[in-house]
């Protein structure tokens, strides 16, 4: 089926279903979001755009931002990054300390919390005025100067961030954190607080559809090889311990956030952002997962 028809059919269908998911409530800023919000935006490599519902409303992209911090850290560190963080699926919940202890402070991959903290440690170390420099980097990739942190969310995350504090202190004990724990945590909580709309998010990730080059500005963000590797990591590790299930049903790389957003890319074809706050039992947007499953099946979109 054509993208246009499949997009429209899927959005229509999902607009009407009963959503069994639950909005994340560990911080009030997420808990108070309207559970009926539902936005989708798909951007194709040849410049077509399809959008639905609340696609133009900012939301907290949360862990989706971990892909962007990884992109910058990978550029800055190169392959020696992988001495400090693995490239294996975690097989356990996203914030588990068990595996981190078993692996002596080396996180399984950069898209789980512990791995993202190591990535933040690298960015804090490399960047002058790290938070400001990083958001400007995001704005450049996004080709959009309005993108910003939400300070209130960042502050609230910090106040409820004891498990992340446990993770970073454990890695510090193993010698895998160079910087000051509080400073790195502050950067991390800001990273998670970045807000985008579905259309901004879909636009931002277009470089991963196009082997590392922004197809509209034609600026290279990362090398072709690194772009493929980022996609590999999203395919294997983008959905915590539902990564296999997602790959199995959706068949393309993606990353979810606890705010209800999901980004997914089909290399050489499209990038799509979905936002619907209620989460399934694994912590991924219920409708977001359903959208991708249905749309990709209808359009035969799969990397396999």
């Amino acid at each position: 089926m054509e993208y246009k028809q499949a997009f429209s059919n899927t959005c229509d269908f999902l607009s009407k279903i009963n959503d069994p998911g639950k909005v994340a409530s560990y911080i009030p800023e997420l808990g108070s979001v309207d559970p009926n919000k539902f936005g989708v935006h798909l951007t194709t490599l040849n410049g077509e755009n399809f959008s639905h519902g609340d696609f133009n409303e900012k939301f907290s992209i949360q862990s989706i931002a971990k892909v962007l911090s990884l992109v910058l850290a990978y550029e800055l560190e190169g392959e020696k990054l992988w001495k400090r963080v693995g490239v294996e699926p975690s097989g356990t919940a996203f914030n588990s300390l068990v595996q981190l202890e078993h692996d002596k402070g080396i996180p399984r991959n950069p898209l789980i919390n512990s791995g993202a903290l190591v990535v933040c440690d690298i960015l804090v170390d490399h960047l002058q005025n790290s938070k400001q420099t990083f958001i400007e980097y995001i704005r450049k990739i996004a080709d959009n100067h309005s993108i910003n942190y939400n300070e209130k969310v960042a502050q609230s995350e910090k106040e409820h961030g004891y498990r992340n504090a446990a993770l970073i202190n454990l890695m510090k004990a193993y010698g895998n954190i160079d910087g000051n724990c509080d400073e790195v945590l502050d950067f991390y909580f800001h990273l998670c607080s970045i807000e985008m709309t579905c259309s901004e998010l879909s636009r931002t990730f277009m470089f991963l559809v196009n082997d590392g080059v922004d197809p509209f500005t034609e600026e290279r963000v990362i090398s072709t090889e690194k772009s493929k590797r980022i996609n590999t990591l999203m395919q294997l590790c983008g959905f915590y311990d539902e990564a296999g299930e997602f790959s199995f049903k959706v068949g393309i790389p993606g990353k979810s956030g606890v705010g209800g957003g999901i980004i997914a890319v089909l290399p050489e074809h499209f990038s799509v952002a979905v936002w619907s706050p209620p989460l399934n039992e694994k912590g991924n947007s219920y409708k977001g997962m359903r959208f991708l499953e249905m749309f990709n099946q209808a359009t035969d979109s799969s990397v396999f």
Copy 2:
């Protein structure tokens, strides 16, 4: 680079390197294999064939056969198969009981030992004269009537198969094995004893290059959707706890065996079988991994 040139370059290079790997020695039949054996065979969708070295010599395909038993069980059971075995990467070594106990007898995926045992239980249940029926099924897919079990290997596996006996008994305790443990183990040990040459192996897996249809006989082995899902599982789970590393560097679905064989497929392009007995620390063929990494990089072969 063209396949022909890349194939030739990579084989040449690897023929000369010093191999730090170690041949599996837990059974004498594997331990006595010549470590210098090195064969490669690549088959493209449009019928080209490239071969090197010992590509025409039979070897024990071991765990690679788990993909084929899965294909048949998936056909027989359909989606209810996934109630008894997961589709998530394991995150731990291939024969770990820890995760199996944590998951109450439901194996993480069908390509680790425990999952393959569940698949065998299903086949033993469905098939009359199960071992004979199964090898005939393989011969049909392979379009080759010479393919067979190696009874001596099967017997030797059984004599050293205490860990697999532990796995199946644990699953039986959790109610996830219907048949008689000894009978299922016997089927499993025969499955692991199947022998093929690189060219037979590469030929056999062509249906996964072509959305489930054998491109030469034009017979459908499985549905398009199931074919993609088998590829997904190989991508995520084909290399035990090196699955991420493999995906990261090689970027296409594959499956390794302890006999030193690896099969890998690039959907719509090619299937390639490599055989070199010395294994790296994770239990995958050292040269096999190197071949795929080099060849795929040279030819820009990746699903991402």
Copy 3:
């Protein structure tokens, strides 16, 4: 308070309470036992006896027998026994494979299932006609020729013993089982099927009250040092993952069985056997635990 008064008070009190426990039902022979059975027998070092209720009725002593098999194996092997089994509390459920895998096939202690299987392997290796020889050994310690296995229970245990089969096969894989797995399991299931009355059980364990010497026949069963060590093991490991709770509240060495029996000894003072089939959540007799807690508090009985 005097033993007599405390014994009578405690039995009276417990006869009237509502028992929230549940009878073990994994085999029909245990599941069909009358949950209202309640027997107690206490034997003092100077020959006094106190008894209550169903103290003269045979029941399945189950894991309590593991102490007796340990006593014989310790005599036969001496201190080299501890190369094959540890002396540490397990910290996890009695039949966990996780710890056994972590510890590479060396069970934490001889009173959990895996450790008892190693002890059985030793006895099968040492004893001619092992089952017969062993029951005669028990009869001698018990000074009672009526003690026997219950063949029906042993058979039923075997039919439901997949987890124990998993444990022994895992240890065999690690090289910590010398004999044939099926033969050792058969011995183990017979061991667990031994039946005694409360008075027989209390009588049998008197040698552990008296530094290894039967106080009535004056025959030495084991050395003083070994007797103390057996008591230490019961104190630390006798109640699975409730060992600490038991020590904390009861303060003397003991061992429970899934049939609802508990034996406990206060060195130099008394041995007491309680039987009440309903088990608490940790798998120990609810009333048995309550009896020991109340009686020991009333009589200030504690090794500490």
Copy 4:
């Protein structure tokens, strides 16, 4: 054998052996201690004292102090303390996060680091000017006003205390820490920095020999029942994952510290403190363990 003779023989023997242990070096204040220091002091209930070597030199009692903080917290909280910390042996290393995560933030027992942190949280909550009040409490039990924290050690512990920071933050995430993490850690690091001589340490623990009453001042420190329970906890949990080994060979309650000190008590008979900095592989004083094993065997000292 009489205490006097056994004490003398054991000290003589150990003075001459080659010590294979290693002094703790994670903070410079411990690493720079003379490894040849060796002191012992034994105090009997009837007032006899035996001493050897460096018995009159202050050393860092480290984790031994956890028994004293537990005594006070138990007095202040009563039995509801056990809702926040267990009474089971840990079965894993003293600072493991794995078990803490498995048990959802409830430490296994109050003598491992996590449990001691919960105890400190309770003391910080209960006590005005907590550090000062606590050290005065210790001085009273010790009947000695010279006892104090070592501020340099406390500071150094803090600078290397990332794993403890991980533990407390994880428990805070589970809701099992009421206070401010930094404040509780500060109290904890001071607790670990307390210094005593062997004779002071032996004297301080005499109330646990005498059912909770200081035998010399005749002041009650805790109730008889609580005194027995503290002894039970030392017996089961005093030596991390060597608790079973210690109980098995030594047979009396005790607690070790990473500074090379060990306290052990035989209820109704004696309290003994040993100090020798080199530690065995499990982190307990090599000579300290040997002393207790030899002395107790010679004098037939055991609670069993």
